[in-house]
């Protein structure tokens, strides 16, 4: 562990979720791929503990604290328009793997050339998604109508889910996923909006929900980008860049998407065993949610138009890419 800092071939990577999260598997596999593809010219090294809070992952790269990291796109809205479509409400009707690859391909087609992160001193290596988030409750009756939302204390993930609730005039507590546990441990809230099954097990506790309600399209796909310090990237010779690119992008997206889906299946079985009943969302409920959420989609399409991108075409491409897999 000597002075590993400035030697160009060592990339220090930060994983803000900590070493337990399934995302480590795919990212560390990428690390090995990179070392192999570049014949050891670039060696990613993963920090044992997180070095910056989740919203500040780009900041850490910009400051030179570490070289690679990934960030949740709820935190990049001010910096860039492009990846914001990933977290728009109700865009994905497929799996995490489908969404993840479609997100990368669609972003790559419409936005990679826009270099939106150039000012932030980062080069984007991949975009990826986790499986979609849904509705859970500790009450005896599943959440399946607007009335149900009003009849219990709710926690909604900050961002898309919280904004949708606000647009419906529904009172709730909001915050980052890591703070969900505080409210579920002693059932200060009963309803949870904006978490995956895996998120329930990781944060809320497996015995918390009695019912889960699953909309046909998820209210939000947690979307991320994996990136590297731009100076470090620019300093590499062209062939090394190419070697790294060949093992990044869709390859990362597919791998992490699949790991997310696999983990979701395990979580599904464990939740069923713990007594949680799964329900399909009532179409009327889903329609009401979509209607309340549509302003967020319109606002993003308007922002995309300002940088010369047809937002509707982006969403259609994403949809097509999901369906095509």
């Amino acid at each position: 562990s000597a002075n590993t800092g400035h030697a160009a071939e060592n990339w220090v990577c930060n994983v803000f979720t900590g070493p337990k999260h399934f995302v480590n598997k795919g990212l560390k596999a990428w690390g090995k791929d990179v070392a192999k593809a570049t014949n050891g010219a670039v060696k990613p090294r993963f920090l044992p503990a997180n070095a910056a809070p989740p919203p500040k992952q780009i900041d850490g790269i910009a400051a030179g604290t570490y070289d690679c990291a990934f960030i949740f796109h709820a935190f990049t809205a001010k910096r860039a328009v492009g990846p914001g479509f990933g977290i728009l409400p109700f865009i994905n009707k497929g799996t995490g793997t489908q969404g993840s690859v479609a997100f990368w391909e669609t972003w790559n087609k419409h936005f990679a050339g826009k270099n939106e992160f150039a000012d932030d001193n980062v080069h984007v290596l991949a975009q990826f998604q986790f499986p979609g988030v849904h509705f859970f409750t500790a009450q005896d009756k599943p959440i399946n109508s607007v009335e149900d939302l009003k009849s219990q204390k709710l926690w909604a993930l900050a961002g898309t889910s919280s904004r949708t609730m606000k647009a419906m005039g529904i009172n709730h507590v909001s915050g980052p996923a890591a703070r969900m546990a505080e409210f579920t441990q002693t059932k200060v809230v009963q309803g949870l909006i904006g978490t995956t099954r895996a998120g329930i097990i990781n944060f809320a506790g497996i015995t918390f929900p009695k019912h889960g309600t699953f909309t046909s399209r998820s209210i939000m796909m947690p979307s991320f980008q994996w990136m590297v310090n731009k100076q470090k990237w620019d300093a590499l010779p062209g062939n090394v860049k190419q070697q790294i690119t060949s093992v990044s992008g869709a390859k990362i997206a597919k791998r992490i998407g699949k790991d997310g889906d696999d983990f979701e299946v395990i979580a599904e079985k464990r939740l069923a065993k713990a007594g949680m009943k799964a329900h399909k969302a009532d179409p009327a409920f889903e329609a009401a949610l979509q209607k309340a959420a549509s302003k967020q989609v319109e606002a993003w399409i308007a922002r995309a138009a300002k940088i010369g991108v047809d937002g509707k075409a982006v969403l259609a491409d994403y949809d097509k890419a999901v369906a095509g897999m």
């Binding site: 800092g5 503990a49 400051a63 030179g64 604290t65 200060v188």
Partner: protein, 442 residues
């Protein structure tokens, strides 16, 4: 490993020279990070970020609030009444005033989440009577430093909240789990005093006997403590508020008690009391922020992964591994205070612990609760062990004319008592997790 050890040695050396602990830690963490990363700008931003983020971390909002709650209790004279009650019941025995100190520390702990605040408050309350009865400084001050550590085992407890956040375990359950070990620690401290004065009666001469009516009267006066304890724990347990919100609710309760006793009516007194809690908190925060910078140096230097590889290489299993981690934490506890250990060390070992949890025969969640109680005892040890024992320094600063080495000598019996209880909780995990297991959940 080598760079990390140099870092530890440098903090020790600099702080021994009288450089404020926070600034010594900051300097070593900064230089260390700069050396490892080879980039001073990264070190400058990272250091600013760690201090700023630490000072604005939501989970830590309980620190000033649980300190304020204690200060309000003190203003309402409830801490004096606690001591009176303790004195009435055990004062007449040899070492009785020290025992009364332990009991009143335990009572105060039920409304304070900080060991530092408990030690500081009870030093002001209990030292004068112990001086009056010619208690030796080593017994008197040692009792106060150790008694203060009860503040974080008996709920509410700031370190338990931090442990709960770091490990994603249920903080309400942790609080309940702390009750029995807290009582055991209190009893073991009483025993430690008893044994010491048996060998050397001059350490703590007996006080005057008190009649039964007085005993009942003084005990009856401690009811506000029970009410506040019930408010805080009951509110958490019934799902009215979260453990981090409990500090604010407890403060409002304590404030009302103070008002009812004619205190806190003047603006001047409010400013005194609130800014007192602010000052005590600031000292903790600046050390904590600096410790996190040093922690990032250890993170980047690879110490944490080396430690994990080292402990994993023994394949110790569900009881050996925690023992090993405890040993490491006891050593680190000589230098770090509680937050440093909880934020720097525990997350590193968490994956290994979760790996062996299934093998323990306990429910994996309960296993982490049990380990949390174990860690709190280890943290308590760190607060009173030399060379850097924050509680010892706190007692020293309230009672400046006591020799620091005498306090460190005075805490030795309590360190032994801590170790005995730690051993017991290893042998009988039910002492920690029995109560939460049988509590009904809502």
């Amino acid at each position: 490993m080598f760079e990390s050890l140099v870092g530890f040695a440098a903090i020790l050396g600099l702080s021994f020279l009288g450089i404020p602990l926070a600034f010594a830690t900051l300097a070593v963490g900064f230089v260390g990070f700069w050396y490892i990363r080879g980039d001073i700008n990264g070190a400058i931003i990272l250091s600013g970020q760690e201090i700023f983020d630490f000072a604005t971390l939501f989970g830590l909002s309980v620190i000033p609030l649980f300190i304020l709650m204690g200060t309000l209790i003190q203003r309402a004279n409830i801490s004096d009444e606690l001591y009176e009650a303790g004195y009435a019941w055990v004062g007449k025995y040899r070492g009785g005033l020290a025992m009364a100190t332990v009991l009143s520390c335990a009572g105060f702990s039920a409304v304070s989440g900080s060991s530092l605040a408990t030690a500081a408050t009870m030093s002001r309350v209990a030292m004068p009577p112990m001086r009056k009865y010619k208690y030796m400084d080593s017994l008197a001050s040692g009792t106060l430093a150790a008694g203060g550590t009860l503040g974080i085992m008996i709920p509410p407890s700031v370190p338990m909240i931090i442990y709960g956040i770091v490990t994603e375990t249920n903080i309400g359950t942790l609080f309940i789990a702390g009750v029995v070990p807290g009582i055991l620690l209190t009893l073991s401290y009483l025993a430690a005093i008893y044994v010491r004065v048996s060998f050397n009666p001059e350490l703590g001469p007996p006080g005057e006997a008190v009649d039964w009516a007085e005993k009942r009267r003084t005990l009856g006066k401690t009811w506000p403590i029970i009410v506040l304890f019930g408010l805080v724990l009951g509110g958490i347990y019934l799902g009215v508020f979260t453990p981090t919100e409990a500090g604010a609710v407890g403060c409002v309760g304590a404030f009302i008690f103070a008002l009812s006793r004619g205190r806190m009516w003047s603006i001047k007194e409010n400013i005194e009391v609130f800014s007192d809690a602010v000052i005590v908190s600031a000292r903790i925060f600046i050390i904590g922020g600096a410790a996190l910078i040093f922690g990032q140096f250890l993170n980047f230097a690879g110490l944490s992964s080396e430690l994990v590889d080292f402990t994993d290489s023994f394949e110790l299993g569900p009881w050996g591994l925690p023992l090993m981690i405890c040993a490491i934490c006891v050593i680190l506890g000589m230098i770090f205070e509680s937050i440093g250990i909880l934020l720097l060390i525990i997350p590193v070992f968490l994956p290994s612990l979760e790996g062996v949890a299934e093998l323990s025969g306990l429910d994996p969640d309960m296993y982490l609760i049990w380990f949390g109680i174990v860690v709190i005892i280890v943290v308590e040890l760190g607060l009173i062990t030399p060379p850097i024992g924050i509680n010892v320094f706190t007692v020293k600063s309230v009672i400046p004319d006591v020799d620091l080495s005498k306090i460190f000598v005075g805490v030795i019996p309590f360190v032994i008592a801590d170790l005995v209880i730690l051993g017991l909780i290893f042998l009988i995990p039910a002492l920690a997790i029995g109560l939460p297991s049988i509590m009904p959940s809502f």
